[in-house]
Amino acid sequence: MCVNSDDEMKQHEEVEQLDPLEAKLRKALERVDAPPTLRQFLETAIEAQEHQKRTGKLWFRPKRGGLVMVMPKPWRWMMSPWAGGAVAALLVAGVFATGEHVHRVHERQAQATQQFEQATQITDRTLERAREKLRKAGVNLDQ
């Protein structure tokens, strides 16, 4: 049978027959008050959450002083012990990824330039052939 409040516990002790050690254990293990700092911490956490919901701002100044940041849910992984390594890995991957991206852009640009030049050359040759034909036909293209 589970007792829930301190009063219920005292009543239960009177009813249940315990040996001396068990009775002393129960006395030694009576619940104690939590320190006031626990309540203060939790109050600050509540205020910070409410502030964040109202204003959307991450930073919050509690009444007791100091500065609190409310970590949005998607960012909370940053508090994990492995987060530092994960961020470093992402940065390294990002550098390589960016380098790869730049390389590919240059490649495409070079291809486009080459294709344009080829097209230009073809057009030039075509035009020259056309001009030659017209000259042979007696058409004066310089006028």
């Binding site: 001396p20 050690l21 068990e22 002393k24 129960r26 939590a34 626990l38 911490f41 939790l42 509540i46």
Partner: protein
């Protein structure tokens, strides 16, 4: 979905002694106990809406507190005595409940910290929270026989340590 602030404050008021005391007796340290209690209540705030009744909330708080407190205990470099077995030898005094006196009450909380983790947890749940072995088994997710065995061995160990401690105390007087 987070708990509404008013309800959360009410739950802190009702349960903070239980949560802190459980954390304190399992970790053996005030600082660690306070950190565990903070984490437990923050977790309650984040996910407490899913809990349906006061009994469910109480069960959930006890279970999460015990799990977090045992995690904190394991992370500490200082380990409780791993040599519990040597205290079980018959060379030590026979059970002598008559030899106990009020001074042992003061020592018991200290002696509890020297118990192996599993024995410590079941003794705290049994004598602080007044839970029966089958309730403790359900909370810890262990067989009832395991809980009873840890309870019996833990009490035996405590009794012997208390006897020895008191005999030394008397000798020194």
């Amino acid at each position: 979905m987070a708990l509404e602030s008013g309800e959360f404050r009410r739950l802190i008021e009702v349960h903070q002694r239980m949560v802190f005391s459980l954390a304190l007796r399992v970790t053996g340290e005030h600082g660690a106990a306070e950190e565990v209690a903070q984490d437990v209540f923050l977790e309650l705030h984040r996910g407490g809406e899913k809990l349906e009744s006061e009994d469910h909330i109480r069960f959930w708080l006890r279970r999460v507190t015990v799990h977090r407190a045992t995690d904190a205990l394991r992370k500490k470099s200082r380990q409780p005595e791993a040599t519990a077995e040597e205290w079980m030898d018959e060379q030590y005094v026979q059970d002598n409940t008559e030899g106990l006196n009020a001074a042992v009450v003061v020592l018991l909380e200290e002696l509890l910290r020297t118990l192996p983790e599993q024995m410590r947890v079941v003794i705290v749940l049994r004598y602080q929270e007044d839970m029966l072995p089958d309730e403790i088994a359900k909370l810890l997710g262990q067989p009832v026989a395991t809980v009873k065995s840890n309870l019996q061995r833990g009490l035996k160990l405590l009794r012997r340590k208390a006897d020895v401690t008191m005999k030394e105390y008397v000798r020194e007087q």
